[in-house]
Structure formats: structure tokens, C-alpha cells
């Protein structure tokens, strides 16, 4: 066990303080270009949240879960990956990580309008589809990492799941198998304080989720999930270990869901407004903004320009997605089987009016 990083069971590691200053002696691996790229991704995520939310309200989009508040946890981890060989296995609240890997906003719009094409990852985009069945993606990530290694790749898989999903049996079975097989997986547990209306203290009595790593013989880390540097640093070390064949890591990123669970949720029923206010102070975007402004890399003007550009991009993607022909009945049958059973083929023919 000595080779494994110690687990802070209650104090998350913080490198970028809420006031935007960096911890004594820490030098982030993110150079200015990478930093601005990450900043851009975080602002893009905010722009998407905003637009998608209003589109849903207009009935142009289906149920959608905003990233709002968790940008540093998602971007910090994704930026530790090499999209060319590493993989992202998402839950449903990690769009910025999927985009970094090559997924497009247009597809995201399609997905949230109920178009089956929206969950298609183009060849070369190392991402598994959105996962709605909580924790079901975690075993997939372990098998994927195992399979990559089996075939001689040094790719690493980063799988995202929530504090709620962590209670599912699949999370345990997958973590345990990853330990046994020393699979190159980074388990990024985004503890945003809530599973819909269930607060994390009702989800578990554990002092931290990172404390579970020891029970699987793997490294565990607890980081401030609103701290881009701390998340990126922990994830980078985890990726390095995994690539070197030193096995998986469980990273708990403590963040906070600043908005509703999704577009049909009403958090005022269960979130204490004072707590929410207090948590807003931890806003990861504001924190990074302070740092970048102090560094002189951004200012209000540049941010305004960037946000406008990003919003325009989103609008263009929405327009593109909405311009496409809506799926017809064949969409129910396409890709269900590579070699469809005769009966389903007949149903397809009947539904589409084609000859069977």
C-alpha cells in the first residue's frame, strides 16, 4: 500500500484558492495556452447550459442536466487526457469532457431533441454514449481499459460517475475488478452533494468516497472539485500511473450542483437557499477568472467577446441540428441488430411502408 498516495478522508486537496491564488510552490502542468483552452471550455459549458435550458423551456429540447458548478471537475480531469488514445466514459453531466474528445455540440443538441443520431460518436472520438442507467457505465469502462491493454494500447479510460451512482452495486463490482486486473482506469467520482434531492450524507456515512480506494487496493485521492488545478493535477498523476501499468485510481472531486438536477427538477423543494448561496462562493468559473485576471490573461472585455462567440457557436449548432430532417420510423429499427431477425424486419417494413 505504501506506493499509493495517502487518502485525506475529510480535507480535499486544494491548489487554486477561492481568491484565485495558487498554493505555495505549486506549478500547474497547464501552460497559458492550455489554461485559456480550459477557460474557454468552462465558459462554453455555461453558454450551453443557458441556451439548452431556455430551449427546453420553449419545448425545443427534452430533459437536460446542466453542468453548472461542476466545470472544473469535468474540464480539469478531461484536460489530463490525450484524446488520441485515451477514452471518456460519461454519465450524463460531463459534456465538456465529451467535446474535448471530439464529440460535437450539434450531436448534443440532436441527443437532447431525442434524435438517435445524437448519441453517435464519430470514428476516432474515444467516448462511450451517454449513460442513463446509473453506474452501468463503470463496468464498461473497466472492460474497455482492460481490452485496450490486452491489445497493446497504452490508452487510459476516465469514467465519470456521481455520488449517487456510487451507491449502486455496479460501482463496487467495477472498482473491485479494476483493482484485481490493475486496469488503466481513472474513476472520477463527481461528488456534487446531491442525487436529485438526496444529500450526500444520506447517500453514505463514509467520511469520503476516496476512502473506498483502500478497500480495492487502489490509489485514492480527495480533491477540491471546484479547483481546476487540483483536479487536473490528481488526474494527471492518475493517468501517468495507469499508463505505466500501475493500476487504477479513485478520485473524488468535491464540487457542488449549483442548479437543478435537470430541467424537470425543482430544487427549491429541498435545497436550503442559504447553503446554495454559500456554495455559490465556490463557483469554479469565478475562481479561475480571478486567477486568470490576476495573471493578466483575461479581462471582462475579452470574456464578454469570448462568451458572445461561444453563444453564437451554440446557436449555430442548434440551427444545424434543427435544420436536419427529423428522424422517421426507420430510426426505431436502425442499428438495433447488425443482422435483424425476420420478425423485426417485418415490423420495420410495416412501420416504414417499405416492402418487407
Amino acid at each position: 500500500m505504501s506506493t499509493l498516495p495517502a487518502i485525506g478522508t475529510d480535507e480535499p486537496r486544494c491548489l487554486l484558492a477561492p481568491d484565485g491564488t495558487v498554493a505555495e510552490g505549486h506549478v500547474t502542468a497547464l501552460d497559458d495556452a492550455a489554461l485559456l483552452d480550459a477557460w474557454r471550455a468552462m465558459l462554453q459549458s455555461r453558454a450551453i447550459d443557458e441556451r439548452f435550458f431556455s430551449l427546453q423551456r420553449q419545448g425545443r429540447l427534452g430533459t437536460f442536466s446542466p453542468v453548472n458548478g461542476e466545470e472544473a471537475a469535468v474540464v480539469g480531469s478531461a484536460w489530463a487526457l490525450d484524446p488520441a488514445r485515451d477514452w471518456v466514459v460519461p454519465q450524463y453531466r460531463e459534456l465538456p469532457a465529451m467535446l474535448r474528445q471530439g464529440y460535437t455540440v450539434t450531436r448534443a443538441v440532436q441527443y437532447f431533441t431525442g434524435n438517435p443520431a445524437g448519441n453517435f460518436m464519430a470514428p476516432g472520438v474515444n467516448v462511450l454514449p451517454y449513460q442513463i442507467s446509473l453506474a452501468a457505465q463503470i463496468p464498461h469502462a473497466v472492460g474497455l481499459a482492460w481490452g485496450l491493454r490486452h491489445q497493446g494500447s497504452d490508452g487510459v479510460v476516465c469514467v465519470y460517475f456521481g455520488d449517487g451512482a456510487s451507491s449502486e452495486g455496479d460501482a463496487h463490482e467495477a472498482l473491485n475488478l479494476a483493482g484485481v486486473r490493475r486496469a488503466p482506469v481513472v474513476f472520477l467520482l463527481k461528488n456534487n452533494g446531491w442525487a436529485i434531492s438526496t444529500p450526500v450524507h444520506r447517500q453514505t456515512a463514509a467520511p469520503s468516497f476516496a476512502a473506498r480506494a483502500a478497500g480495492y487496493g487502489m490509489a485514492g485521492e480527495l480533491v477540491d472539485g471546484n479547483d481546476l488545478f487540483a483536479v487536473h493535477d490528481a488526474c494527471t498523476r492518475a493517468v501517468t500511473r495507469a499508463r505505466a501499468g500501475e493500476g487504477p485510481t479513485l478520485i473524488e472531486a468535491r464540487t457542488y450542483r449549483m442548479g437543478p438536477h435537470n430541467t424537470s427538477d425543482d430544487p427549491t423543494r429541498y435545497v436550503d437557499p442559504e447553503e446554495l448561496e454559500a456554495r455559490r462562493a465556490g463557483d469554479p468559473v469565478a475562481r479561475l477568472r480571478r486567477h486568470l485576471q490576476a495573471k493578466g490573461l483575461v479581462d471582462d472585455a475579452s470574456e464578454e467577446v469570448l462568451t458572445a462567440a461561444l453563444t453564437a457557436e451554440v446557436d449555430a449548432a442548434v440551427a444545424e441540428a434543427e435544420a436536419g430532417a427529423p428522424p422517421g420510423p426507420e430510426a426505431m429499427f436502425d442499428h438495433v441488430y447488425a443482422r435483424p431477425p425476420q420478425r423485426m424486419a417485418g415490423q420495420r417494413a410495416a412501420a416504414t411502408g417499405e416492402a418487407g
Binding site: G62, T63, Y92, Y111, T113, G114, N115, P116, G118, N119, Y130, I132, S133, L134, G164, A165, S167, E168, G169, D170, A195, I196, S197, T198, R202, Q203, T204, S264, R269, Y270, P326, P327, G328, P329, A331, M332, F333, V336, P341, R343, M344, Q347, R348, A351
Partner: protein, 325 residues
């Protein structure tokens, strides 16, 4: 009598039994403070306390599995599956444990339990939230499966299920939570499981359905009436126990039948209905029994789900086919 929506009827049945029987205890995801994602348990935690309306961790197998232990301790647990589709995470506990504990223990440990589970489509939920898995549970001996189609039945059957010493999977049509409204007695009453309801009589054909599909069947029957056909509708109410007598009589009357459900066709419960009908009423059959169901594909994304779930038009077309056969 007051008109209630189905979700109000369910809530009132839960409240009444919590009041009447202190052994009753609700457990599930988001059922407490939040009152359930469909508000089926709204206000119940405030009224009965957090020890009787319990918010659970996000883990279906232990929500159902701990209910098995709660029942062994003498309580009447009412686990909620936030969606029937996620019953698959607890499938081993439901079919392997809940359904078999009485038998396994040679009668020592009965399972007076009601597993509540919303299901069904056309409401643009994310993937896996609309799946209709009822046949998989109806094929799990030891379990009973209730499928109310009206607010009145929802209250009466849920009350009955809560008092039944056997475990009942109680499936609630989420599309109908608010759309289905009818008169529901305020006072205590029960509707027995295993007794089908004749929704309307018909001389030419009978549609056999359950849950929200009954509404589709009624609309189709009306449309058919406009075309001059006399089409009856039989609401099964429960799949286990199954009211074979009602099936026999309904088919004996019209000689033609159509079975309808939201689940995919193959190995859906409609197959059991066809098999039962032809066993019970073969000699009165004048045409092959029709089946209207979803296609043999996974429940699709929202943009095409209304083409997937059987519509009034598809039922009408099937009615014509059976009548013209």
C-alpha cells in the same frame, strides 16, 4: 365522490394505509423531502415522519432487498422503484428473493410487500425510463402484478395490495399520473386483484388491455363504433392473478379479440393472453387473435417514441384486420 388524478388516488391510498396500519413503511429514492419525482408521496414524510417515509441511497437492489428484511421483521414495506426500468438492477432480489421467500422458508417468512413502479411511454423521458417489463415479472412465480388503469382502481387496488400477504408489483402508468382522472371514493375500499373490469361491451370484437393502454383501447373502440363496429374493452387490472373467466366470456361473446400493450411484441404479456384465450375459448374464435404492441426494438429516443408506443390508429388498423379476417 371526488374526481382525482391517478397520482392523487395513489397518494391518498398510501396516506390512508400509513394512517391505519403502523407496520406500513415507504422507502425509495427521493420519496421523502421531494415527495417523489412524480409527487406520488408528496407531503407524506412531513405527515408520518422520516422513519416511515424513508429516503434511500441510490441502489435498487438494496431498496428491494432491505424491504425483504423489513418484512421478515414484521413490517409492511413499500419500496418504490423510481422507474420500472430500473427494477432490472433489483431483478435478482425481486424474482429470486421477494417472490420466493415465503416458499423458501416453508411459510415462515411471508412477504407482505408492495413494490411501486411507474412505467410507460409518450412522455419524453430519457432512455430506459419508459420500459414496460411487466411480462418478466408476471413470469416470476410468487409475485403478483397489478396494472390499474383508472384512478379509482389505483386507490382500491393499491389498498388491496397493501393488505395482501403476498408481494405485489404495482405498476403505475406515468403518462396517466395526471391525465387519468375519475371519481374516487374518499372512504376506505378495496378492488380485488384478479377480477377484470368490463370497460365497454362489444359484439364484434373485444380489446384486452391493462394500465394506460386501456385508454387507447377505449378511444379506438369509439372510433370503431363510428365505423359501425361494436367493439368491447376489457381491462385486466392484474396480470397475476389473471382473470381467465373474464377472458373466456368476453371472447365467447364476440368471437374476435385483440390484445394490446406498450411492451414489445415478442414474449410480451399479450402472448400469454392469446395463449390463455385460445385455451379457454378456442371453439368460439372466429378469427386469429390480434396483437398490438410496441416493436421488437429497445424503447427509442423521444423523437420517434410516439411511433413506437401503440397508437389509436394502430389499434384501429388491427381491429379492421381482425374483423376482416
Amino acid at each position: 365522490m371526488a374526481v382525482m388524478t391517478m397520482v392523487e388516488a395513489i397518494r391518498s391510498a398510501l396516506a390512508a394505509e400509513l394512517e391505519r396500519d403502523e407496520r406500513v413503511l415507504l422507502l425509495g429514492q427521493d420519496i421523502g423531502v421531494n415527495g417523489g419525482v412524480f409527487r406520488a408521496t408528496e407531503g407524506l414524510q412531513e405527515r408520518f415522519g422520516a422513519e416511515r417515509v424513508v429516503d434511500m441511497p441510490l441502489a435498487e437492489a438494496v431498496i428491494v432487498g432491505s424491504a425483504v428484511g423489513l418484512a421478515c421483521s414484521g413490517l409492511v414495506p413499500v419500496p418504490e422503484l423510481q422507474f420500472l426500468g430500473f427494477g432490472s438492477q433489483a431483478f435478482h432480489q425481486i424474482e429470486g428473493q421477494v417472490a420466493r421467500m415465503r416458499f423458501r422458508s416453508h411459510g415462515r417468512y411471508g412477504m407482505p410487500m408492495v413494490i411501486r413502479a411507474p412505467f410507460g411511454g409518450n412522455v419524453r423521458t430519457p432512455e430506459l425510463h419508459s420500459d414496460a417489463h411487466e411480462a418478466k415479472y408476471a413470469g416470476s412465480p410468487g409475485l403478483k402484478v397489478a396494472m390499474p388503469a383508472t384512478a379509482r382502481d389505483a386507490k382500491g387496488m393499491l389498498t388491496e395490495a397493501l393488505r395482501d400477504p403476498d408481494p405485489v408489483l404495482f405498476c403505475e402508468p406515468l403518462r396517466g399520473y395526471r391525465l387519468i382522472k375519475d371519481e374516487v371514493p374518499e372512504e376506505d375500499f378495496t378492488v380485488p386483484l384478479g377480477r377484470a373490469r368490463t370497460v365497454r361491451e362489444g359484439d364484434d370484437l373485444v380489446i384486452v388491455a391493462y394500465s394506460a393502454a386501456v385508454v387507447i383501447a377505449e378511444k379506438a373502440a369509439e372510433r370503431a363504433a363510428a365505423e359501425g363496429y361494436s367493439v368491447g374493452v376489457l381491462d385486466l387490472r392484474s396480470l397475476v392473478p389473471l382473470d381467465a373467466d373474464a377472458l373466456r366470456e368476453a371472447v365467447a361473446r364476440s368471437g374476435r379479440a385483440l390484445v394490446l400493450h406498450e411492451a414489445p411484441l415478442t414474449a410480451g404479456f399479450g402472448a400469454e393472453l392469446v395463449a390463455t384465450i385460445q385455451e379457454e375459448a378456442f371453439w368460439s374464435l372466429e378469427a386469429p387473435i390480434g396483437r398490438v404492441a410496441a416493436y421488437d426494438t429497445p424503447y427509442p429516443p423521444g423523437s420517434v417514441e410516439d411511433l413506437y408506443v401503440p397508437s389509436v390508429e394502430r389499434v384501429l388498423a388491427a381491429i379492421r384486420t381482425v374483423l376482416e379476417a
